[in-house]
């Protein structure tokens, strides 16, 4: 490159023509820009996945409704699940990690900037491929458009016999492509965190965010690899005459379940550990206290990472495993509640004795704690195999995992947006719009997902496009759908807030929250090189040491 990065950012970006600026975004290898690209891509997919959810909820608002056909409904829940997990939650998590990890560990970029860009564009291409199926999925056979096999695509429904045409191929290929992107980013994160920490930043002084990102990235490598392998096996079945999952030729449907959930359960922790990471940074700052039990928090996270690799078959309690296998997976699944409970208690202890400031990020974090508590407890109920025989695959299960994914992960992600938006953009978010967003979304969330538990207890299975009256499900489904309206309004306010604040928000300065980690020591937004001089740290809260030279952390932390 002929221009130096310093001169590059020094020029006023508005002066250059639009095409040139767009070109810079497409060819960028800067971890911050790629982080923003990941996040913007995730937000676009969030709207698409939300519309798909709304279509399902309109269909289910009353018994025997015919707003959409069963075929369309089945495509909607397949696309909603696939989009939300692979093209909203994963990019969101990667976006924040991409942007923040180098800043927090005092590095100037990720370890492999080009791999970083390649991984993002693979993910984006995967998302495009999935949604292109709406137009191109019919192929030459004219069967189906978007995939309709469910987001975990159980065999043998994905075999050529039951899924002719190309809709299932779009699903398989998009997950294969984006899966390689995820593995690339995960390798990048691990390498960056292990090799590129600034002087003085031992592993024991890393912000919890970096520790949790490291655990998350390790899980991605271990979990997404078997998923990619399974997708290749499925393609072999469909096009090269393989019989891995083709039950009509002696293949095994249960094998696919194992492959999918060996990915699928660690995946839950791939998504929720970053939510823990946001909470672990935000709660201390707005309680004005450092995190309680740092070492225990790290140990609990790594412990969750390991245990999460051994719980997958709790998704398979109904497939006829032996009592011993069922018992093992009951125990391992419930065991995860222990380190998770430790984390909740440590967050509470961090707030305990603090001076809690109820800014928008903290509001979302408190709601996260409350909802994650409930989602965790319903998880303990479902972990008990006999209860799962009744509640698994019912709307109780759907309510449970939305409690975790929306109530915990999305709420924590909203907190992260409000907390780090000033760093990303240099401008503060509107506090008034933020509060409006919070209350609208909170009301909508609880109306939808609290009410959703009940029809599950009353025998309503998931993935049905219609139901007959007289089952006692009608009122609950009506309430669930009404809640969606509030969530949609809340999301609109959120997007409006982002746009308005980006254009008109108050200048943020480098450290608007009086925080303690390294990303707040540089400009907002940070220059391309992040730090003019690489920082040197002596404790877990380098900015606290600067602000309180009379009482620095390193006096108490000892060695690590």
């Amino acid at each position: 490159m002929s221009t130096t990065p310093i001169a590059w950012t020094g020029s006023d970006p508005a002066q250059r023509p639009l095409v040139e600026r767009l070109h810079e975004w497409v060819t960028t290898v800067d971890h911050k820009r790629l982080g923003v690209l990941y996040i913007v891509f995730a937000l676009i997919c969030l709207v698409i996945g939300g519309i798909e959810a709304a279509i399902m909820r309109i269909q289910l608002i009353a018994p025997s409704n015919d707003f959409v056909s069963p075929q369309v409904f089945n495509r909607m829940f397949t696309m909603h699940g696939t989009t939300m997990i692979f093209f909203v939650a994963m990019p969101l998590v990667f976006g924040f990690a991409n942007y923040l990890v180098p800043l927090m560990i005092g590095a100037r970029d990720m370890a492999f900037p080009r791999l970083n860009a390649f991984s993002f564009w693979l993910t984006a291409f995967g998302g495009l491929l999935l949604h292109f199926s709406f137009l191109g999925g019919s192929g030459l056979y004219g069967a189906g458009t978007a995939p309709d096999v469910g987001w975990f695509a159980y065999a043998p429904l994905t075999a050529k016999t039951f899924s002719p045409g190309h809709s299932t191929d779009y699903w398989t290929l998009s997950l294969l492509v984006s899966g390689f992107g995820s593995i690339g980013t995960a390798i990048n994160l691990v390498t960056t965190i292990v090799c590129m920490r600034c002087p003085g930043m031992t592993l024991g002084r890393m912000p919890l965010f970096a520790w949790l990102s490291l655990t998350m990235a390790g899980l991605v490598i271990l979990a997404v690899s078997p998923l990619s392998a399974a997708q290749i096996m499925l393609l072999v079945d469909r096009y090269l005459g393989g019989h891995f999952f083709d039950t009509q030729a002696g293949g095994s449907a249960v094998l696919w379940m194992h492959f999918f959930w060996v990915f699928g359960h660690p995946e839950v922790y791939v998504l929720v550990i970053p939510a823990f990471a946001y909470a672990s940074e935000i709660i201390p700052v707005f309680s004005r206290k450092l995190i309680f039990g740092y070492a225990v928090m790290v140990a609990a996270t790594v412990c969750i990472g390991f245990i999460s690799m051994s719980v997958w078959a709790h998704h398979m309690f109904t497939v006829g495993m032996s009592p011993a296998a069922n018992g093992f997976f009951v125990l391992s699944t419930m065991a995860i509640a222990v380190p998770t409970g430790i984390k909740i208690f440590n967050w509470l202890a961090t707030m305990w004795g603090g001076k809690i400031q109820f800014r928008t990020p903290m509001l979302f974090c408190i709601a996260f704690l409350f909802q994650f508590l409930i989602g965790g407890l319903t998880g303990v109920m479902l972990a008990s195999a006999p209860l799962d025989w009744q509640l698994g695959s019912s709307y109780f299960l759907v309510a449970h995992f939305h409690y975790v994914i929306v109530g915990a992960i999305l709420f924590a992600a909203f907190a992260a947006f409000y907390y780090w938006f000033p760093k990303f953009s240099g401008r503060m978010c509107s506090e008034a719009l933020g509060r409006l967003h919070f209350w609208l979304f909170l009301i909508g969330f609880h109306l939808t997902f609290d009410c959703m538990h009940v029809p599950g207890i009353l025998g309503m299975p998931r993935r049905i496009y219609t139901y007959e009256p007289g089952r006692g499900w009608d009122t609950w489904n009506l309430l669930v759908t009404i809640g969606v309206v509030f969530q949609a309004l809340g999301t609109l306010v959120f997007v409006a807030n982002l746009v308005w604040s980006y254009l008109k928000g108050d200048a943020a300065g480098s450290d608007p929250w009086d925080a303690w980690t390294l990303e707040w020591s540089t400009d907002s937004p940070p220059p391309a090189y992040n730090f003019a001089v690489l920082p040197v740290v002596r404790s877990r809260r380098p900015l606290w040491d600067l602000k309180h030279p009379e009482d620095p952390d390193w006096k108490y932390e000892g060695e690590g």
């Binding site: 206290k289 497939v319 430790i342 407890l377 299975p461 993935r463």
Partner: protein, 348 residues
């Protein structure tokens, strides 16, 4: 911290108080609201799961109240005051004793929940099979249920008949679960938890309904387009009624000269590729056995009542009742539809 420790020791009366509030007040109200409530068990497997669910609800309820109480207390008590001096609160790094406490207590709770679950798993998965037990083979199809009674040579569809089981002289029904195509799941919430029907992977489950009556349910594993209308109907009959029903099902199809034209159309079109009527040469197995069609209350796997109008609509335009089902519209004339319907209505 103090309240956490007290609650975590779970004194018996705290748990029983919580279960009183939760279970005695809420559960009957929820149960009465639906014919498919898991809180209205009518068979041993569903009943022991109900018992376990009350225990788990009580324990998790106590945990919820404790932690939620701590959260609310922290939020109210430690909010920053209006006239704060701006100083930072005391910085607390952690406490190994406290961490140990909130590690050990959850471990004990987890152990208790695990042992309670393990006992129920063993009791449901390793039942004793008494001499009077009935064997039924359940075969899941896209999107209907085939039932075979190997002891009696009976094949029927969509409406399962089993005898009531007196707890003093149990006559449970053991179901062998098979699939002809994709994955399905057998779920009648008041009788038992669900078990999947997976091709190449035979499963089993059992029920011992204590009261006669009709128990509803439906397929609980997504199996394709019409997963939603793959409904389950289990008729629990008194012993006498069940024996009578079996006797009737064992007879070959009735032959009635008055409906010969309908029968001739049925046998000359593709109907016989999928449907069987015993004793007359129709032996298709892709669709439900129609030998005793009129013994059933519903058509299309419970999607519609078995009325003359619905039957004719089903023959003329299946998509009007169950879009995407395997039943094709045979493009028969109105008279032929009527003749076939008359023939089917003679199959008692």
């Amino acid at each position: 911290m103090q309240s956490n420790c007290t609650a975590a020791h779970l004194p018996e009366h705290v748990a029983s108080f919580a279960s009183t509030v939760l279970v005695c007040q809420m559960i009957p109200w929820v149960a009465s609201a639906s014919p498919t409530s898991i809180f209205a068990p009518a068979s041993t497997p569903a009943d022991v799961i109900f018992g376990l669910s009350r225990f788990v609800l009580a324990v998790t309820g106590v945990i919820f109240v404790t932690v939620f109480g701590l959260l609310v207390y922290a939020v109210v008590r430690f909010r920053s005051k209006k006239h704060d001096d701006g100083s930072e609160p005391p910085q607390v790094y952690g406490s190994n004793e406290v961490e140990l406490a909130w590690t050990i207590i959850p471990v004990l709770i987890v152990l208790a929940l695990f042992l309670a679950s393990a006992r129920v798993i063993a009791s449901i998965q390793h039942p004793e099979k008494p001499a009077g037990a009935l064997e039924v083979v359940v075969i899941g199809h896209q999107y209907w249920w085939e039932y075979r009674y190997p002891d009696y040579g009976v094949v029927t569809a969509n409406e399962l008949h089993v005898p009531v089981s007196d707890p003093t002289h149990p006559t449970p029904t053991f179901l062998t679960l098979l699939s002809a195509d994709t994955d399905h799941s057998f779920w009648v919430p008041r009788l038992a938890g669900k078990t999947d029907l997976i091709p190449n992977h035979p499963n089993s489950m059992w029920i011992d309904p204590h009261e006669t009556g009709l128990y509803l349910g439906q397929c609980a594993q997504y199996c394709g387009t019409q997963h939603a209308l793959m409904l389950l109907r289990v008729y629990v009959d008194s012993r006498e009624d069940f024996d009578r029903w079996i006797e009737a099902q064992r007879r070959p199809a009735q032959v009635d000269g008055a409906v010969a034209r309908g029968r001739q159309i049925f046998e000359a079109t593709a109907c016989v590729n999928c449907h069987a009527v015993s004793g007359v040469g129709a032996d298709g197995r892709f669709g439900p056995d129609l030998t005793h069609f009129m013994s059933r209350d519903t058509i299309a796997s419970g999607a519609a009542q078995n009325t003359p109008e619905n039957l004719r609509l089903w023959l003329r335009d299946p998509d009007a009742i169950k879009p995407g089902s395997g039943m094709p519209a045979m493009q028969l004339s109105a008279e032929d539809v009527d003749a076939v319907a008359n023939y089917l209505e003679s199959l008692r």
